[in-house]
């Protein structure tokens, strides 16, 4: 109730720009990988790594919009699946189809995000349930559309974004198109989150929805937009992943939780109000780097799961601890 119950810093312990631990983590992991496998330090090594992580990084940065606004989006994985399946159905091996398929898929993504947002904002269904329902529905739609198995190939023009490298570049020798996508969309998402009114309003809505409404923030529009951004990035992630890996019916499954994990490792606050796009991308890099490192160590899938679980809990517990220490 009163001012006194708010945590306050003592001037000495609080130094403002404090480096997000996720960046330290990423650097440490990458160094560890290079020590264990010097080939990773060569362009093919780290470029392959970046190429591999692009889909998750873009997806997480988009999912962060919903997290910062105080919700969850469990439907992103199924949107990726739908994108890949839908594109393969529509393409019928015609290289020229890419130019209309990607915009069409983005349009479908926008509609899905809009529905998620409307259901959450106006039907007041908790986002966890709303997007869970959407996830189940979209997986079903993808199956229905394809009849259970992919019915077409993705043309090479479509796979360009996730698969191809520009070669013969000085210094770095090769540059995957996916990495260019990562930089471009990363910057756009960073700009939207951290350099626009929209981004500030997202933070406000996630921080205190009622106060945001009373401060004149168009809460519904902002929340809906967050779901739309998330769905659009899921489509982009789907295009890149589909490009990298080709068609399969469950291509996106599991990505929704990985995206949340990446955001959380990047220091995002679940239930809203805090989160950073660069740190989330770093979180995605860290996650993938951990997996790579575990593979190098010859540790099997079960250990990966345990490590992922411990890191997830540890990251949040650490953030809570740090915040509390800063507060008192």
């Amino acid at each position: 109730m009163s001012a006194q119950s708010l945590p306050q810093p003592t001037a000495a312990t609080r130094r403002l720009p404090r480096i997000n631990p996720v960046y330290v983590l990423v650097v440490a992991l990458i160094l560890a990988i290079i020590v264990m496998n010097p080939a990773f330090g060569e362009p093919t090594g780290y470029m392959n790594f970046l190429k591999r992580v692009t889909a998750l990084a873009i997806l997480s940065a988009g999912a962060l919009y919903v997290i910062v606004s105080g919700g969850f989006d469990l439907s992103v994985g199924s949107i990726m699946t739908l994108t890949v399946i839908g594109s393969s159905m529509l393409a019928s091996n015609d290289p020229n189809s890419t130019y209309w398929i990607i915009p069409l898929m983005l349009g479908i993504g926008a509609v899905i995000g809009l529905i998620n947002g409307l259901v959450v904002s106006y039907l007041k269904v908790p986002s966890l349930i709303a997007t869970l329902g959407m996830m189940i529905t979209l997986n079903g739609v993808a199956f229905m559309w394809s009849g259970g198995a992919p019915r077409g190939y993705l043309p090479d023009t479509f796979r360009f974004f996730g698969r191809y490298n520009i070669t013969d570049i000085p210094v770095i020798s090769l540059l995957p198109i996916a990495v260019i996508c990562l930089v471009v969309f990363g910057v756009i998402l960073w700009w939207g989150m951290h350099r626009t009114n929209f981004g500030r309003m997202l933070h406000a809505v996630g921080d205190n929805q009622q106060a945001a409404r009373l401060a004149g923030v168009p809460v519904e529009r902002v929340r809906i937009s967050a779901f739309v951004v998330s769905a659009l990035t899921a489509v982009l992630a789907g295009v890149i992943l589909g490009g990298r890996a080709g068609v399969s019916v469950d291509i996106g499954s599991g990505f929704e939780l990985q995206a949340i994990t990446a955001a959380v490792i990047g220091g995002a606050q679940l239930l809203g109000g805090r989160g950073s796009v660069p740190a989330t991308i770093a979180g995605a890099l860290a996650l993938e780097a951990i997996f790579t490192l575990l593979n190098l160590l010859g540790l099997a899938q079960p250990v990966r799961l345990v490590v992922q679980g411990l890191i997830l809990i540890g990251a949040v517990a650490f953030a809570t601890y740090q915040r509390k220490r800063a507060g008192r």
Binding site: R52, N165, A245, G246, S248
Partner: protein, 376 residues
């Protein structure tokens, strides 16, 4: 640090109790048997592999003879992967060929044992079934439900994965997992010099038919003196498959990739392509995308199969049972041919979807290829 305590507790509990008997996936007798069956001659019409069978033990089904129209009930583990989709299409098309089948009731357990047991209960309670076909989600778990159905006096046909009871009329399946592993491994051994490096890619551990594929191949590689670089699990995920192959390529050369299933074979091939490395021996399965990639790039491929035509056979077995005809029993073992370079072209059909399984035995059916998603 509660987590550590917990982890310790769980570890303790599990290790303390770890006197389990893992199912035996390394059975030399079965290995030898399947190796022989691969090359054996099968009974039945030569151009209809789905009617062929090994051995001559038959069951008399006169007691199940029934006048049509019948209600054929099918409890399906799921249609959650392309192999099952193709197989299920085979099955529904086969049903159309038998006018005596009045109703075909299909319940889908969506990959859950628990649900499939409930589904069978539902069918027994109200399904009015003349015959029950079960494609079990897992062997041990579905056994009680199948026994219950047998006890209710229904003729039961099981296919794909079996059950541990012999109460069903028959268990329809191709030669088996060892056979699959053998075909792929033999091809690699024949095409890679001694000491060559083989990467084994598997979908996931624990699935019986996949474990035997790996076990068969592993033994043969050891005997042939090939070096197995590693056995990695891909979860059937293209992206992960590609990453694994890329990582291994970064660390050295690969002379062959052995795969326990073909769905991600193309991703493995692409990993070589994208690194600008010549594609070595990569085994696969009878999916169109792999067959076409194999033809286009001209690497040394082979496609062992786990034929989807067994789904047709299950219906045929059910129909024969209800007609009171003889049915191969207790097992109806179907041939399991591999697609080799010599016959590659006859299995490629560019009008079919990428994950269409070429060994579907369905080309002679009226709705081919539209029903399988192909174009005229």
């Amino acid at each position: 640090m509660q987590k550590i305590i917990l982890a310790a507790a769980v570890f303790g509990m599990l290790t303390g109790a770890a006197f389990s008997q893992a199912p035996n996936f390394d059975d030399p007798a079965e290995f030898a048997k399947q190796r022989d069956q691969l090359t054996a001659t099968f009974n039945g019409p030569a151009d209809q592999p789905y009617l062929q069978y090994a051995g001559d033990s038959m069951a008399d089904t006169a007691s199940f003879k029934k006048e049509g129209p019948w209600t054929v009930c099918f409890s399906n583990a799921g249609v959650n992967n392309p192999w099952r989709v193709v197989g299920y299409t085979d099955m529904t098309e086969e049903v159309k060929l038998h006018p005596e089948i009045g109703t075909f009731t299909h319940v889908d357990a969506e990959g859950s044992d628990d649900k499939q047991i409930a589904d069978i209960d539902d069918l027994l309670a109200g399904g009015n079934c003349s015959v029950l076909i079960v494609s079990p989600n897992s062997t041990a778990a579905l056994t009680p439900a199948v026994e219950k159905a047998c006890a209710a006096g229904l003729p039961v046909i099981v296919f794909d994965r079996g059950v541990t009871t012999d109460c069903p009329v028959t268990f329809v399946h191709p030669v088996g997992g060892y056979g699959f592993g053998i075909q792929a491994a033999e091809h690699i051994i024949a095409n890679v010099p001694a000491g060559g490096k083989v990467l084994m890619l598997r979908i996931l551990p624990g699935v019986d038919v996949l474990e035997t594929r790996a076990s068969g191949a592993r033994n043969m590689f050891k005997e042939a003196g090939l070096e197995v670089l590693g056995e990695e699990f891909t979860d059937g995920d293209n992206a992960k498959t590609k990453s694994i192959v890329e990582d291994y390529l970064q660390r050295g050369t690969i002379d062959a990739v052995w795969m326990d299933a073909g769905a991600t074979a193309v991703a493995a091939v692409e990993a070589f392509e994208d690194q600008g490395v010549d594609v070595p021996v990569v085994t696969g399965e009878d999916q169109q995308d792999y067959l076409q990639k194999w033809r286009d790039l001209g690497f040394k491929g082979i496609a062992p199969t786990y034929p989807t035509y067994q789904w047709r056979t299950a219906i045929i077995a059910a129909v024969n049972t209800l007609k009171g005809e003889q049915v191969p029993s207790p097992e109806w073992i179907l041939p399991q041919p591999a697609i080799t370079q010599d016959v590659l072209d006859q299995y490629i059909n560019e009008k079919m979807p990428p994950l269409h399984y070429a060994m579907c035995g369905c080309e002679d059916m009226p709705n081919y290829p539209q029903a399988w998603g192909g174009t005229e």
